[in-house]
Amino acid sequence: MAEPIVTDAVNPDVVAARDALRGVAHTPGVAKPTPLLVADGVRRTFGGVNAVDVEHLEVQSNVITALIGPNGAGKTTFFNLMTGFDRPDAGSWTFDGKSLAGVPASRVSKSGMVRTFQLTKALSRMTVLENMRLGARDQVGEGMGAALLRPLWRKQEKEVTEKARDLLARFKLDTKESDFAGSLSGGQRKLLEMARALMSDPTLVMLDEPMAGVNPALTQSLLGHITALRDSGTSVLFVEHDMHMVRHISDWVVVMAEGKVVAEGPPKEVMDDQAVIDAYLGSHHDTDLGDDSLLEEESVISAEAMAELEAEEEAK
């Protein structure tokens, strides 16, 4: 059921971006060959505490970048700042060459940087299909006057619906199309939120803890979706605590601690970095961050969970 993780990128842009990243130094705030998101001096304080204090950070396009760090490192706050859901005390940032400082959240999203939330925001009392349709851009029928005249938007609505159904099929939610989103499981809501974000063909998808609360059986397919996303030309930036996931799918890892970027580099190097180990000290002191054997163990668990799930389904 779970799709295999695609590790060999087929998209030439991805291959090129990865090659280019090989020559990049592993120092915090290093310049990238073709950066998509560039943040400069972004600072946000909450009552004297520097929640985010990023001097310089570049996010490479066409790859998967992971943003990791201990709790309270400022990862989600950084996401909120970049996407216009919060305002920094100082700093500027550009996305795709355009400055986004002070731009409201809806316009940030329109410019191609679409986010999901740590606490999933499925629109509960709307059907799965309606959730998806809402993600589409530039809908004529979203004008108050045009809404009354169906012929103006009937054709577009049909296209939007087709696209929504395609995406739902990809995320294996097509059978849930007419269910209320509120009746989905936590993992399915994560999938729905991700699929909904893709309705607008974003340039950069920002996923805030895509794995949090997801059934291990779904983890594999979620990983597959994220890599497939990159291979189809979308850049991905995600926050995650699950080190196995970070290690397995990311091309580049940025580590934050106490609001600052303390390390970046390819996953393997970063996880051996003393600064990173220090940052996690206390919680992950004795565990190997991203031990492969742990992952394999987990995949056994996930296979078991899968079998259980199927048995349950059949029992219904």
């Binding site: 925001k121 979203e142 108050m144 939120e193």
Partner: protein, 327 residues
């Protein structure tokens, strides 16, 4: 007691201008609350503004259509004044601001300083502004009986007002029906569920909320015109209780449905007249006088509604499945 005449009274009230006006106001509130999740506690303010806008412009000599448009314009401006500063804030702020603003409108209207314009606390008598509406009737004057109900064709609480009023209700329902299934309505429902999620999808939530507030307020103003054409413009008769009754009607019929507000309004007024009539007929006057029965009617209807909301929270036409989902 005379049951036939009681039932006639019930029928007369359930199809009368009060039920029409409240249905229109509840349809407006449904756009605010049922569709968008906005908590407007000042729908009576929109109604009063509509009534004033219509009556004052008619008294000033403006033709019917212009007066109607001015009333709608008042509601639009009022909605913008309320919405522009508050809709960026959390939902509760709108509730506080709307209830206060509706009271402000009422107090301004009844102030002595504006006696020449609004008639102060006496209000504006119907005879001063009804002529243009009654004159627009294509029917001949006179008492006309249809079924058990016998009414003037054109004057005050008339057949003509009912025809136009129910026409307006039908039009409002049609508009809500069309909007509910449109992408615009979808964005509003998304905002009702979680406005941050909708913002993250690139929709300008603020504009949509403002549009919703304006449109719902306009329906409220139209309701205000209907109620003033039936009697007079009286600021104290369009105070807070009107807003609360409108909310009750909306929840009774079922929020986020097309016909819920209309059904709610008909049932609410029918029940009120029925309960009062029964008490008047069955309870001897030395136990409860008719002045005591008047408020007791509201009490009993209120209790009935509490029970209804406990046992059928989605309202009469609401979808139980939809309401059962929380978060």
């Amino acid at each position: 007691m005379d049951f036939a005449s009681l039932l006639t009274d019930v029928l007369r009230e359930a199809t009368g201008p009060t039920a029409i006006a409240y249905a229109l106001a509840a349809i407006g509130l449904n756009i605010h609350f049922g569709l968008t999740g906005l908590i407007n506690m000042g729908q009576a303010g929109f109604m009063l503004l509509g009534a004033y806008g219509f009556a004052i412009s008619t008294i000033a000599g403006l033709p019917l259509v212009v007066a109607f448009l001015i009333a709608i314009g008042c509601a639009v401006v009022f909605a913008l004044i309320l919405g522009l500063p508050t809709l960026k804030l959390r939902g509760d702020y709108l509730a506080i601001v709307t209830i206060a603003a509706a009271e402000i409108i009422r107090f301004i209207g009844r102030s002595v300083g504006l006696n020449d314009l609004t008639g102060g606390s006496q209000g504006l008598l119907g005879n001063q502004f009804k002529y243009s509406f009654e004159g627009a009737s294509p029917f001949a004057d006179g008492l006309v009986a249809i079924g058990p109900i016998s009414l003037q064709m054109n004057a005050s609480n008339s057949w003509w007002l009912r025809i136009v009023g129910w026409g307006l209700v039908a039009l409002a329902c049609l508009i809500v029906f069309l909007l509910l299934r449109s992408p615009w309505g979808r964005v509003l429902k998304g905002i009702r569920e979680d406005e941050d999620a909708v913002r993250a999808l690139g929709k300008n939530v603020y504009t949509f909320k403002l549009q919703s507030l304006v449109l719902g307020g306009v329906f409220g103003a139209v309701g205000g015109i209907v109620i003033s054409l039936a009697s007079s413009v009286q600021p104290d008769s369009l105070g807070r209780p009107v807003t609360f009754n409108t909310w009750t009607i909306l929840l009774l019929g079922g929020a986020a449905t097309v016909f819920g507000p209309v059904l709610g309004s008909i049932l609410f007024w029918a029940a009120l007249v029925l309960v009062r009539g029964l008490m008047r007929g069955l309870i001897p006057p030395d136990v409860l006088s008719s002045t005591e029965i008047e408020p007791l009617g509201f009490v009993l209807v209120g209790i009935t509604l509490v029970l209804l909301i406990v046992f059928r929270p989605q309202g009469i036409l609401g979808d139980k499945k939809e309401l059962a989902i929380n978060g």
